[in-house]
Chain length 628, copies 2
């Protein structure tokens, strides 16, 4: 460990600032990397060049471990702490390990108190950099996202003013097409060498995108929790100030670009994904006239190249370290409901060539993040996981058994701080359903019990017994928050054993399955819904997307993580209920269709006393204070 363990455990930032970090070049050299493989960002962070993949292509791939969790309480069950902790544990028992983790949004960091770099003696450091700009990747995503947004409104306004002759002349001042324009010609099936050989009709079709303003799904983004931007009217003013219309802002990590960046395999793949992004449709017809509207893409707006240029550094994963001094990649942070909620494929792919064990984390509970890890991320990466670590706590299981409500900022009820085997037993079905779900993908599962000080040995034993009965390799307690690396050693030993088992990995559904069947497969197999209902909007969208040739995309279910169902109040492992699909959307750049099970919040708000209230610089030392 880079820091001496103390009792009681100090605050996260105090631990992190006390640690004596290894220069990142040392961490990199331990992986076989050289200086020329890195772009330093200060002494303790570096971006790793993508060409190391080619350099190390003959190395065997390491074991691939996904950390997920049961359905959590609103407090979270320590999934990130355990992800980092099991890595520190593997390092402790002498394994060559790498951690892959998501970069958090700055919004919640300054909004609702709560760290994202792990906690206690299980953290990624420097924790300030981790929680702030890091190397600017989220800002780059925001810049690319908002450039596309500006391109949309600019095109709307210019097209409203100009003839197609003028547009053709302005867009092709030298009488030549750009590569983007040639792609649009191909999509429209127009054969043309130069704008001058176009018929009037083809010129109109080629240069007037005719975007339906009401179809525009592409909002703007900012990496601040700013509720007052959720719904806005923009384009007010005079003729040069755009076209008035309703729109709004999401937080940057909810951007489809973040999802696409995390999902891509290399720069060429990213460039393709940027071009494919659908921002809305043309005006010819509406949802009821399937086949008559044309999807409008970033490529049609000639901006996908510039967007990729803005992301050319962000595509490289960021090398940091754990409090054990072991290497960690921090890369991408897509939302876990409207997107895949997993860190980047590129980071995992590189890590698997650099280390013998790669520990990666999926967002939310296993019904959300892990299902997407398997059906989405592994599908696009082609990488097969060797083991799943399923984090649970006695507290959360008691809640699922019918325990009192758990509310952030309020003291825990008595049931949670005293032994109560009956309540625990009632809550166990939630854990067991998650175990069964992992096994459906053909991957061994190890349960990690994130043990709190009031948990009793009898409670731990009960969880272990039932987990083993249901097919888990084992259930092992973890005390990494308090004990650091040593507290994760036993868990690490079990994970090593699980990784030595043969896997029989399979997806839950084939891509060619119709969208509704895919939805029903996830709903019934993972959530255990009895049936699925669709709003007329959702039905229409499914037809529209299938008519556009998007029916073969995998799914990204947008559902609450606080329940197996769509209703966060329903705990445990319910059966015979109906999952309502309220809307269906397409993230074609990211590469999935996302059915919405209820309203997903994509822009957080601030409490009356935002977390920024405590944050300041100590002007004597230059150190950050008050960052949770």
């Amino acid at each position: 460990m880079l820091v001496e363990l103390k009792q009681p455990v100090p605050s996260d930032i105090d631990i992190a600032q006390e640690a004596e970090l290894r220069p990142i070049i040392e961490v990199a050299k331990g992986l076989g990397l050289e200086e020329d493989d890195l772009d330093y960002y200060g002494k303790y962070k570096a971006k790793v060049h993508l060409d190391v993949l080619a350099k190390f292509q003959d190395r065997p791939q390491g074991k691939y471990i996904d950390v997920t969790a049961i359905t959590p309480t609103p407090l979270g069950e320590g999934k990130t702490v355990t992800t980092i902790g099991v890595s520190q544990g593997l390092h402790y028992i002498g394994k060559k390990v790498m951690t892959c983790i998501r970069q958090p949004s700055q919004g919640p960091t300054f909004g609702i108190k709560g760290g994202a770099a792990g906690g206690g003696y299980s953290q990624i450091v420097p924790m300030e950099d981790f929680n702030l700009h890091l190397t600017g990747d989220i800002h780059a995503v925001g810049a690319a996202h908002n450039l596309l947004a500006a391109a949309i409104d600019n095109r709307l306004t210019k097209e409203a003013r100009w003839s197609s002759d003028y547009l053709a002349e302005a867009l092709c001042p030298d009488g030549e097409y750009t590569d983007s324009m040639r792609k649009r010609l191909a999509k429209l099936g127009i054969e043309s060498e130069k704008p001058s050989d176009l018929s009037d009709e083809d010129k109109e079709h080629m240069f007037r995108l005719n975007i339906d303003p009401y179809s525009i799904q592409w909002r703007r983004v900012v990496d601040v929790s700013d509720a007052s931007l959720r719904n806005i009217i923009l384009g007010l003013g005079t003729a040069n100030d755009g076209t008035p219309r309703e729109s709004g802002y999401d937080i940057t990590v909810a951007s489809e670009i973040m999802a696409a960046l995390a999902m891509c395999n290399d720069l060429a793949d990213l460039r393709e994904r940027m071009g494919r992004i659908i921002i809305g449709t043309s005006r010819k017809g509406g949802l009821t006239h399937v086949g008559e509207v044309e999807p409008i893409t970033a490529e049609d707006l000639n901006v996908a190249g510039a967007m990729t240029v803005l992301l050319k550094d962000a595509i490289m994963p960021n090398l940091m370290q754990t409090l054990s001094g072991s290497p960690a990649f921090v890369h991408c942070g897509p939302f876990a409901n409207i997107a895949q909620g997993n860190s980047s494929i590129i980071a995992d792919r590189i890590a698997l060539r650099l280390a013998d064990y790669v520990v990666t984390e999926s967002g939310f509970g296993a019904d959300c993040g892990m299902e997407k890890f398997m059906n989405l991320k592994s599908r696009y990466s082609g990488l097969v996981p060797n083991c799943v670590v399923l984090v649970c706590t006695v507290r959360a299981l008691k809640m699922h058994g019918g325990g009192p409500k758990v509310v952030a900022g309020q003291p825990l009820a008595k049931a949670y701080v005293e032994e109560n085997l009956e309540l625990l037993e009632k809550g166990l079905p939630n854990l067991l359903q998650h175990i069964e779900n992992v096994l459906k993908f053909g991957v061994p599962v190890v349960v990690a019990i994130n043990r709190f000080k009031d948990d009793t040995d009898a409670e731990i034993a009960l969880i272990r017994q039932r987990a083993q009965e249901t097919g888990a390799e084992d259930a092992v307690e973890s005390t990494v928050w308090m004990d650091g690396a040593k507290g994760g050693a036993a868990l690490a030993e079990t994970v090593v054993k699980a990784c030595d088992k043969p896997t029989n990995f399979k997806f839950l559904y084939p891509l060619e399955m119709p969208l509704k069947e895919k939805i029903e497969t996830v709903a019934k197999e993972i959530y255990r819904a009895g049936s699925v209902s669709y709003t007329p909007d959702a039905e229409a969208k499914i037809k529209l997307f299938e008519s556009m040739g998007l029916g073969n995309l995998p799914l990204c279910m947008a559902k609450t993580h606080l329940s197996f169902t769509h209703d966060p109040r329903i705990k445990g492992a319910p059966r015979d209920w109906t999952l309502p699909i309220t809307d269906v959307r397409a993230s074609v750049g990211a590469g999935f269709i996302f059915p919405l099970c209820g309203t997903m919040r994509t822009m957080p708000g601030l409490p009356t006393r935002p977390a920024f209230t405590d944050v300041d610089l100590d002007l004597e030392t230059g150190q950050v204070v008050g960052l949770f």
Copy 2:
């Protein structure tokens, strides 16, 4: 030079990508810096730690050279090219030189074609990094700016809902004040140790900011040219989505935070400036009830500490290099009308301890950027310039003499490509007024003639003769765009001589002069207006600001750079005209009052064919293509 010179001169990006750059550590070592003084950002960029100032405090200060220009055509007269070029020239003649330059906004880079890294054989490299994210400073400014914006709307919404008892409890959950809150208590003159000892009236005053929504001057920012965000309505939706009101976006470099970052001397100064930012006033009364409204600051919103934390890396200047391999600081890029338009004080200050000659650039013409360099930047830095380089072109002088309109993208009229001494003679008063203006500050001035291929020797000789008669040290031609370092050698020799002269530096006005007198001093001495007029709004604001104790701030005149007057169509050196002051605003964080002479655009738009249309990645080489 890091690149071999070719004829005809290739495109800027081709030159830049062909150059064989020195590793930035070598550049740094040439300045006496060590690895521990730097945070690398890749191999060719580094941030320099602020503590090098203390480390090198005993070194003598270098000579301080400000590069400015005559009133330009809309094409620009090569001020940045000459700034970099005179540095390359000084390097060529064996001097230890450093260039300090502004970081450009990404908005125009992707909007209206035009490079900002210099051009031809006079550039800062790598030019892609210079023109894109660089090290994320502009993004950091945006994050801090938008965090304050979110804090404002959050407070408006929460105060509309809660009693002052609730607000007190929510803001002080542990019954204690934060440091920010103690500052507000002091400002209000309330003596209190804990919230519990406040009277009801004091509690209301302390915890209810009572912001007048119509007074809010703090807009939001984004680093994209997005005209449709100029005017928006935000806060639409439900009770949790904020309070509906009109607002809008500026481009990030127009943020007061950018101006404050460029103006501060260290972290403690920056922290103070963040706290002083006035976002609007309280609701008690209006502009006509001077003294009854209370300015509301970022400190009142308890967010100034977090804003400073977001800027803790951005405050460090970025070390890059010229095409000669000589060192350059690229740091901050405040607007040149509503802000000071000069790169950072911190960069200049450090550079002056590292090099014998420091070449820094002021935005716009000398009536704008240079006047602010002297009266604003030098006032806050305490640094005294040794020489001003005033850039002019034969083309611009002919335009001032009554030549045909110069329009970007259109071929130049005949008058500009043939010898025309009469037209040139008529335009010379513009140059001569600028020369006289520099001399009013007691600083020697060297005229740099940025020579184009069609300029004749007789034209150059005429400029030289008249410049010398008016008091310039000399007027020397520069061909750095085509010839690189060698083309700036003669200019560099003249600058060295000018720097050896004693200076008699003085400000144009003392701080204690009333605001109106300051305005009139700049208007008459620099612009040569006959008189100044004020709108009733402007009069009221002046009274308001003086009543708030802001009357002793220096001025930052917000005026077009395309004329000595407020009207961009009026060329030459007019006399006996009236300067209209339409409004007056305060940037207290940046440290100035800015009178508006007409409408200043703070959010650019996009043309029908934005520059992003050509930008893409070459997927074979990974290199950027199409970036002007």
